[in-house]
């Protein structure tokens, strides 16, 4: 189902190559790590998989289905960003809940799901119990920033 294939993926900005002819087959539940010097195209490749970047050439398939023309928002891929990318205008609780709202999950289920996600990343229940007591993200960089960021991706 979540088998990912990259077929001859290329990315070019003008005359500059971002990614050149990548062919990878990732099977379901496989855990894979990209390693390389900076600027070699790791992030670009991942952004293309997530749908944030359109490949100049080649095809991305998930579960055998061609994904090139599908928006990032509809791909249901999850990605944790380098700078966490937490929404500074929302509490951590709201941050974790955001994808649920976007994907129109019934409201009644939100609380359970948020808690389960928080548990999964071992965030500790404190920050979650009462959404009102949740610190605003912009307060400071707190140890759970990274985790809440990950939690957001746990659905």
């Amino acid at each position: 189902m979540a088998q990912i294939e990259l077929v001859g993926i290329q990315k070019k900005w003008g005359a500059v190559w971002g990614v050149r002819d990548v062919n990878i087959d990732i099977s379901d539940e496989e855990f894979i790590v990209f390693l390389g010097p900076s600027g070699c195209g790791k992030t670009t490749t991942m952004r293309m998989i997530a749908g944030l970047e359109d490949p100049s050439e080649g095809e991305i398939r998930v579960g055998g289905e061609r994904m090139n023309d599908i928006d990032a928002r509809d791909r249901d891929a999850a990605m944790v960003f380098q700078g966490y990318a937490l929404y500074p205008n929302m509490s951590i609780y709201e941050n974790i809940r955001f994808p649920l709202r976007m994907r129109k999950v019934p409201k009644a289920e939100h609380d359970t799901l948020v808690r389960r996600a928080a548990d999964l990343v071992e965030m500790g229940i404190i920050s979650i119990v009462n959404p009102q007591l949740c610190p605003a993200v912009s307060d400071k960089e707190l140890p759970w920033h990274g985790r809440s960021c990950a939690a957001r991706k746990c659905f």
Binding site: R73, D74, M79, F81, A85, N89, F98, P99, M102, R152
Partner: protein, 280 residues
Amino acid sequence: MASQRRKKNESHLFRYIILGAWALFCLVPVLWFLSIGLRPRTEIITQQPIYWPHFSLDAWHMVWTDWPMGYYLRNSVVSIIGSVVIDLVLAIPAAYSLARYTYRGREDIGFYILSTRMMAPAIVAIPIFFLFKNMDLLDTVWALMIIYAAINLSLITWIIRSYMLDIPKELEDAARTDGASDLRILWEIIIPVILPGIITAGVIGAIFAINEFLFTLLIASTKSAYTMSVALANFTGGSDGVIYNAIALVAFIAFVPVFLVVVAIQKHLSRGLTMGAVKG
């Protein structure tokens, strides 16, 4: 060592002389003008200037009773707030488009918007005048609202755009992978995050609108659309001549709220005034 310390003190002294002198230059005319507002009319233009006048509230009464200043104030407030709302509705999507997408003609569109800021009001005054006349909008608050919105749209768009450029792109990418649509991202993430910038843009737009003179003079030629700035001109016409004490008081009535708001957004001011080009 001792001489060096003295030198340092001297340079401090020199600095305070410069700053103090400039502060006086800024404030003395203002205080003197306030004294004009609080003196009887016969002590304004005289053989020799009067520096210690009698205190009088003549102008104060005149401003609120002889002239419907409350009504002018309402016109000002309605037209300005209306124009800022129009501008925000138009500018936020436009700024988002200019800040976040790459497409053909983006630079040109952005520069076109910017260039409308350069248009001298006098250049378009005559056609605009006839445009509003044909639309039957002369002497209405609507006309003022539209014209203020047009004057400030470029300013507001560019300020908001600059704040949007500051938002890390990752934030949007994250929201996109979370399943948010572009408009959703704008509404739920971008707008709340740059709210201070939006407020700054609105306040600066409002100040420019309060200050606008030529269009208001042409468009608002009857009392039904007079604003504060034209009300000032109102004190200069007619057989009563220039009523300086009333002008002074109106100027202060308009100044106080502007001053308070600007002090509140002081931190963002330089950035707003340069349309985002200088990050203060």
